[in-house]
């Protein structure tokens, strides 16, 4: 039987990272649950063993149910019927099986019926889900919204909603509106307090809402009269059982067709305030989006995995000029690059997930008791790293998913253009990843701050301290030289103090950062397990070096005066 966990050694490798010991100890509060819940682990090894066994269930379902349904789901999509979304039959079946397997509420505490698993495992499940069907991955990954409700909702809301999610109810986050996409400060959906019924009422329209007919919605709405910016927005919980929200249409999309994208009409819908008023955008949505971005990083990685596998299968089978095409340098290089970008994506994905785990768990513990000094330092360190790695990895992994699926079709030649092969679906599915939950351009805006304040350089310093095996020495040297180039480039651009110019070059500087950061991560992976990651480390560092040098050439020779040639001139 196929299994997406067992057939992919890199997953077990990332699950077994050294930092997991600390993550598990904190997450399990020294294994206090073992006396209260029959499925709680008794020690670290027991917890790790449980993670592996549960990931094996996920790998089984994704390979044998979700992946086999994917082609039909892609063709059928979802439709709207009388204000309600009707999933493709395969999607309903997928949800049913995932629920029966007890996987919903994976990261929630056991007292609500969850599994209390760390983010790393949730992300790993998303990684496998996306390999099977990127559209289904969204429905799976949206359970992540419950983390925001858990973080900022009150006890009554926890008791009301979390157990339902653990039993399989679905979630959505209703943020975007026709005039508020990248700029969420412009959200207009109106929230008014109903004194008589002692509840909030929502009125307005939301657009492009993933799984918009979910059971439980987190909604960003304007609660403060006469405000226009983000400070007038609050977060609300809408329960479908109360009624008041209808689906007006389901978008006809290019890809991820298993994930219905809805336009919603709020008609005096009853809602509860989540957290405090006015913190909707500036605090809660930021947390929600960071989680969602990590989810999209995983989705992109899973798509890259699928693209790599499809490319290899085809290139080993297809014969031209009396040879299988994988024997030609033009093809094997493409495959090596796909694999290198895939492995780099996965390394930064799990590194980021661990950072998120560390700070989120410590924040949770801080609500239960005072943190000690070590913990306080850890919290600060990992929050900053998570903040820096999330936009970097989101930009990188989603761009790579696009490149990898593009190359996968190229390897298939004309056949890849036909709907008979999986690669065309992957290509269409990948296209949204670098757009939603913040476009690559917005990730660059978030990441450039960390370029200019040296967060990435400081992270890399820790990586540089790890002693390398001799056959990787050269590549360690190479990365050291790239770091020097990167420092010079950042200095050169920053020293102009020209904001527009810095914005203009920021994409390139952030790209340099990702070649270096993920180059180091892959180097460390190869250092620990050369058989699994050696080739990818070599291929990726070579590739990164050539890209950084291209960027170096452009920045070194760029004359700021020439910026005007790039600007669109309305008079022309």
């Amino acid at each position: 039987m196929a299994n997406f966990f067992l057939d992919n050694a890199s997953l077990k490798y990332h699950l077994r990272h050294n930092l997991m010991k600390r993550i598990v100890e904190l997450k399990e509060r020294s294994f206090i649950d073992k006396n209260r819940f029959d499925y709680a682990p008794v020690d670290f090894e027991d917890a790790m063993d449980s993670y592996e066994m549960v990931m094996e269930i996920v790998g089984d379902i994704m390979a044998n149910v979700v992946a086999t349904n994917a082609a039909d789901v892609d063709r059928l999509g979802s439709r709207v019927d009388n204000g309600r979304v009707q999933y493709a039959s395969g999607t309903s079946r997928n949800l049913q099986i995932v629920t029966k397997a007890g996987l919903m509420g994976l990261s929630m505490p056991r007292r609500f019926g969850g599994l209390n698993f760390p983010m790393v495992t949730f992300i790993m499940a998303s990684d496998m889900a996306a390999r099977a069907d990127a559209g289904f991955c969204n429905l799976w990954a949206l359970q992540d919204c419950i983390i925001t409700l858990y973080e900022f909702g009150n006890e009554q809301q926890h008791n009301q909603f979390i157990p339902r999610v653990c039993c399989g109810e679905t979630l959505s986050m209703d943020l975007t509106e026709p005039d508020a996409g990248s700029d969420l400060q412009a959200v207009m959906l109106k929230a008014v307090y109903d004194e008589k019924e002692n509840c909030w009422r929502l009125n307005g329209v939301k657009r492009f809402i993933t799984n918009g007919d979910a059971d439980i919605h987190l909604v960003l709405a304007r609660s403060e009269k006469d405000t226009k910016d983000g400070r007038g927005l609050s977060m609300f919980i809408y329960d479908k059982r109360d009624g008041g929200v209808d689906v007006r249409r389901v978008e006809d999309k290019m890809g991820i067709k298993g994930s219905p994208t809805c336009e919603l009409i709020y008609n005096n819908a009853k809602a509860q305030l989540c957290g405090e008023r006015k913190y909707g955008l500036i605090k809660y949505v930021m947390s929600l989006m960071n989680g969602a971005r990590l989810g999209i990083m995983a989705q992109a990685t899973g798509i890259s995995e699928a693209a790599y596998r499809e490319a290899v299968i085809y290139a080993k089978e297809r014969k031209q000029f009396g040879k299988t095409i994988i024997e030609f340098p033009a093809v094997y290089e493409m495959i090596a690059n796909i694999k290198a970008k895939l492995d780099a994506s996965r390394s930064i994905l799990y590194e980021t997930a661990r950072f998120v785990d560390m700070y989120k768990i410590l924040e949770e513990i801080a609500k239960e008791r005072m943190l000690n000094d070590t913990e306080k330092l850890e919290l600060k360190k990992y929050k900053k790293l998570a903040d820096a790695f999330t936009p970097l990895g989101k930009a990188m992994n989603t761009e790579y998913a696009n490149q990898n699926t593009y190359d996968c079709i190229q390897i298939h030649g004309g056949s890849g253009f036909m709907r008979d092969y999986v690669c065309e679906r992957l290509y269409r599915d990948a296209r949204i990843t670098n757009i939603y939950e913040g476009t690559t351009q917005l990730q660059i805006v978030a990441a450039i701050r960390h370029v200019l304040t040296n967060t990435y350089l400081n992270a890399v310093k820790e990586y540089q301290e790890i002693p390398l095996i001799s056959k990787l020495d050269n590549f360690g040297q190479k990365l050291l030289r790239l770091v020097e180039i990167y420092k010079q480039l950042v200095e050169k651009v920053a020293s102009t103090r020209n904001t527009e110019y810095i914005d203009f070059q920021s994409r390139r500087l952030v790209e340099c950062a990702w070649y270096i950061v993920s180059g180091y991560l892959l180097l460390i992976d190869a250092n620990k397990n050369f058989n699994e990651f050696g080739c990818s480390a070599v291929v990726y560092i070579n590739y990164g070096e050539s890209e950084v040098k291209k960027i170096q050439n452009l920045i070194d020779t760029f004359n700021i005066e020439n910026l005007k040639f790039y600007k669109f001139n309305c008079d022309n």
């Binding site: 499925y39 027991d46 066994m53 549960v54 269930i57 599994l115």
Partner: protein, 290 residues
């Protein structure tokens, strides 16, 4: 209404992955070289039991399997998916049992369990393909049986209505409880393992396994008694040794032959009625079709 359900399941060699030395010289299967799996149609049987339990709350599912000590894996697999308890029937004297001896041993074990409303087993196991064990158990228990079941429509007032999948269609039958049903591969697929149950039962072991295993979690077996899997031997089920194993098995495999159909000659017909008629008559005459 709640039901007492017994599921019969078997650990079988994975005959889909057969290597060169899979068959012993005496024609029996060399089980030691083959990976083992939960017999596929027994998984369909298990799912049928789960869906009954969902419909009739308070129902209890007991899984029964006979095999070597490593067949404890079948009990764990059942626990991971939602059975309430399981018994492993294991004893040296059970070795070499054919369908007659196996059904006798299962029968004795079911008698020891006592109460039941419905016994569910897969239609047949992929290692023998006999489809005899289920029916023989029913005969020994002197209860009715419905074979080839695809779906149970209802269980009401001690009566069951089931759909049988036959070669040319579906037959709907009604029968009194208690009953034994055997389930086809066309019935619903078994649900996956459950994440909570896997964590709850992953340390579950038989006495035998505890003896040979590591001693890390020994204290758990006192705190969580459900982790102690129950083994029954011939004495436990009061079986007559002569009716078990080789001595209780009249079946002797004489020879195993690998039959491959080969083309001997080929002929051409056009599509006229007379040609088709001529061809069909010839096939009937040759006993190629009856």
């Amino acid at each position: 209404m709640s039901l007492q359900i017994i599921v019969l399941a078997k650990q079988v060699p994975d005959t889909r992955n057969v290597g060169g030395n899979a068959i012993n010289k005496d024609g029996t299967v060399n089980r030691s070289v083959l990976p083992v799996i939960f017999n596929p149609e027994d998984l369909n049987a298990l799912e049928l039991a789960f869906s009954l339990k969902e419909q009739y709350s308070g129902s209890v599912i007991t899984l029964l399997t006979m095999g070597p000590p490593r067949a404890a894996e079948i009990i764990r697999e059942g626990l991971f998916r939602g059975i309430d308890m399981g018994y492993l029937l294991t004893d040296r004297v059970f070795a070499g049992s054919d369908t007659l001896a196996t059904s006798y041993i299962l029968y004795m074990a079911i008698k020891k369990i006592g109460v039941f409303d419905i016994i569910i087993s897969g239609r047949q196991a992929i290692d023998g393909d006999t489809a005899q064990v289920g029916p023989q158990v029913a005969e020994k228990l002197k209860i009715p049986q419905i074979t080839y079941v695809e779906k149970i429509q209802s269980i009401k007032n001690s009566k069951i209505v089931a759909e049988r999948r036959l070669e040319r269609g579906v037959e709907i039958v009604e029968c009194e409880l208690p009953i034994l049903v055997t389930v086809n591969a066309s019935a619903s697929e078994c649900r996956p393992r459950n994440a909570r149950l896997v964590q709850k039962y992953k340390h579950a072991k038989t006495l035998f396994e505890k003896k040979i295993g590591s001693e890390i979690y020994t204290d758990l077996y006192n705190i969580r008694p459900y982790l102690n899997l129950v083994e029954w031997n011939a004495t436990d089920i009061k079986a007559d040794n002569k009716q078990c194993g080789f001595s209780g098995s009249p079946t002797k495999v004489k020879k195993i032959e690998n039959v491959v159909f080969k083309v001997k000659d080929s002929r051409r017909f056009n599509s006229s009625d007379s040609q088709i008629e001529e061809f069909i008559l010839e096939l009937i005459k040759n006993h190629a079709i009856v």
